[in-house]
Symmetry: C2
Subunit: 231 residues, 2 copies
DNA sequence: ATAGCTTTGTTGCCAAAGCTACAAATCATT
DNA sequence: AATGATTTGTAGCTTTGGCAACAAAGCTAT
């Protein structure tokens, strides 16, 4: 297990080189545990004292609704972490439970250790702190943007904003969604048939055409207009 | 102008006492500017190097949509700040413009100064950093919760969740919204008449009664059920 | 190629909610 | 108390999108 390589997949350590990881590792007092599939590594309601980072394996986050139903609210791959928000927010307890989806290796770093400057006053510690801040701030950006989709009321508006955002991100008229229809509908919080129906109308109007995951934008002007004026 | 008292209204300094504020103030190199009403103190797209805190006055945040329309996206009162998210996220430019709503006094603190430990290695600096982290993490919690309302599709579900959340927060069957109908409808992202209509139905069903801002919950069980099973 | 599974397209019906317009109630101010 | 402004309630009409059910097209593996 190459811990350097694995750790670089994590946002807090993404821009660290092996040397820096090595140096900072001393002061962080991290500990590594191996668990088998199904293990609950975080329980909603429990206090958070550490950030967990998945080094090998994967996990699923669940929220238990008041009626007892478990709702999947996110997946963690290698480099994914948990507790990095709850550890600093509100009453510092887990909002969701984290269950390992396969045999996994988890690295834990105590939150006070991250926050407090170590006695050595090392510059890497500084960098870690900045990364933690960026990580949280970036998350706010992402959620804010997701919320924009939810606030748009019309189907065409939602679809247009999604396609236009992808167009801007991918910089080409032929965009790839990275979604199937079901996932796209779920992301936009609409029903799949209604979404399909509106996509057909947009095709008929000459704005787009598509085949599965691949969307071709024929009228960028119009799409931009739709995306930006959407209520 | 009592800067101590004013600053304590800000989340980053809320738990500081006068003495601590005094001490940390040296290392933060803050500067204070007075501006008149209408002044643009942050322009969307510009780089963020400082956090701004309103000491006197108030401001409004605007986003300019691609079609040129300005959308109000938040208000800042005394103690409110701007740049505290954008300063750490993505390309570190303002997402929105901040315009003063009246003659105001603004305190600026440079972000690197907040993040880097000062030469004196003072413990208050440490506390400020923790507050910054909490501030961002709490914000994520808030946005996440707001997004929950947006994801619920039925009118009754949205209303129920709002009332039930207020019930939990206020701990009494007689809750106060802090919203008028318009604001409530806007928050839930629905039209006011449709919302009113459904509130009447819920009254007819014996779940609630209300008069303006004051809502009486008659059937908590049922409200909880509605709030928790809402799709 | 064929069978079986998954994804996508298609349809019709219907309930939910949007919107406009207006009425009633409440509040604030003189 | 009267006026005007704001907030809330009401009604009818229209549109949107949810939903169920099914058809068609792609994939996969034998």
């Amino acid at each position: 297990m190459n811990i350097f390589r694995l750790l670089k997949k994590n946002k807090l350590f993404a821009d660290f080189d092996d040397n820096e990881i090595n140096k900072i590792f001393d002061c962080l007092h991290g500990h590594i545990n191996k668990y088998s599939r199904g293990r609950v590594v975080a329980e909603a309601g429990d206090p958070v004292t550490e950030v967990g980072i998945i080094l090998e394996g994967s996990a699923v986050k669940f929220i238990r609704k008041a009626d007892g139903e478990l709702v999947n609210c996110g997946e963690l791959e290698v480099g994914g972490m948990f507790g990095e928000v709850e550890g600093y927010a509100g009453d510092r307890t887990y909002r969701s439970s984290v269950v390992l989806a396969e045999d996994s290796t988890v690295l834990y770093i105590s939150i006070p250790t991250i926050v407090k400057q170590c006695s050595k006053n090392c510059p890497h510690h500084q960098k870690l702190l900045e990364n933690t801040l960026s990580c949280l701030a970036d998350r706010i950006d992402v959620i804010n943007n997701d919320a924009k989709y939810l606030k748009i009321k019309s189907m065409r508006g939602k679809i247009s904003k999604l396609f236009y955002d992808k167009y801007l991100a991918q910089g080409t008229n032929v965009i790839h969604l990275g979604f199937n229809r079901n996932e796209m509908a779920e992301y936009l919080n609409v029903s799949r048939p209604s979404m399909s129906r509106e996509m057909i109308h947009m095709k008929e109007d000459g704005i787009i055409s598509y085949r599965k995951d691949e969307i071709v934008i024929h009228d960028v002007e119009r799409l931009a207009e739709l995306a930006n004026t959407a209520r």
